[in-house]
């Protein structure tokens, strides 16, 4: 892939389905398992569905496959909430940090010119070949 796929959507629930479908399409083309796809979609929707995390009524989601991983970037973010929550991933609470820490391999906040963005990455591991019975 040459560059990221960029989706600019109103941050409303019906549009989250559009993003989920695009993530699914990308995952299908990179042999991501159903469970990994589910994790990625859930991680993304968890961020999108809380207006605490994103700034404004419009949100941008970038999808990219590079370095053996599918990466989703969401932004711009609202204040320091996401950064703070990511920092408390090991706590007892089932907050954003713990959720993302379980669902994706890498969740981090990046600084860009227009503010902070959340980057979620999941490794695209080589899928074990199907056994002879399935061949």
């Amino acid at each position: 892939m040459t560059g990221p796929i960029e989706l600019r959507i109103p941050n409303e629930r019906p549009y989250h389905g559009v993003v989920r479908l695009v993530v699914g399409g990308l995952a299908a083309r990179h042999d991501l398992s159903y469970e990994m796809l589910e994790d990625l979609q859930l991680a993304l929707v968890t961020v999108l569905e809380s207006d605490t995390y994103t700034a404004g009524a419009e949100v941008v989601v970038e999808l990219e496959v590079s370095d053996g991983a599918i990466a989703l970037c969401v932004g711009p973010l609202h204040g320091d909430t996401v950064r703070e929550e990511l920092g408390s991933a090991d706590g007892d609470a089932l907050g954003l940090g713990r959720l993302l820490g379980t669902l994706v391999e890498d969740a981090r906040v990046e600084t860009r010119d227009d503010g902070e963005w959340l980057r979620l990455a999941k490794q695209v591991r080589g899928v074990k070949p199907a056994r002879a019975a399935n061949a």
Binding site: G24, L94, R131
Partner: protein, 258 residues
Amino acid sequence: MPEEKNDKELLRRYHERGDTEARERLIEQYLPLVRSLARRYSYRGEQLEDLVQVGCIGLIKAIDRFDIDRGVELTTYATPNIIGEIKRHFRDKGWSIRVPRGLQELNVRLSHLLEELTVQLERSPTIPELAKAAGVDEEDVLEALESGQAYATLSLSAPGGGDDDSDLDPLESLGTLEHEYEVSEDRAVLAPGLAALDERERRILHLRFFEGLTQSQIAQQIGISQMHVSRLIRRSLEKMRDEIVTEEEPRRASESRR
């Protein structure tokens, strides 16, 4: 058989003399049949008791429409009526928004294929593998999976437990590990929003996010399908978010008044 004779007698009393007490006795007598049929469908995301209620409607219709002169047994006549009512319930009320029948059916088929392929491949299948097994395009699989988001797991908000029937479906019972779990998940209960969840939902979130089990491992442990685990996780997180918002709303409002 004396029971059959008893059935005929009760049916005659109800149909010929309008004896509603006879009708009620018939309903009671056939409740185990309804329960047994409802259990077959309870893996689809609804509580057994809800399906028993739906199945009872089918039983009552069968009793009301039964023709005592046709020479068939009530069991033979009632069974398809009960199953039909349960299937209609899933078809008409199980989906919160209008989803084309084809997609609903593919979603159900994918749920089964997901289980089969996970066992066969010893890992979670990919979308192309699911598409191949279902004989459809990858886009159809994605669309059907997405349509599953619209599936209304109507009973998910019902509190867990409360059914003292010893012959519970695996879906209904959390088994003997329940007490052990109650102790181990204490810390998770402290998290905001978790109070809104029932015991099964809390257990699933605990297994996924504190024990690190995968969806398929949880499905195996609890005895429900992977897709059902996925729905329960999503729904539980939604409920938690709603609860947190509800809790925070009065505080925010009072802060803004200051």
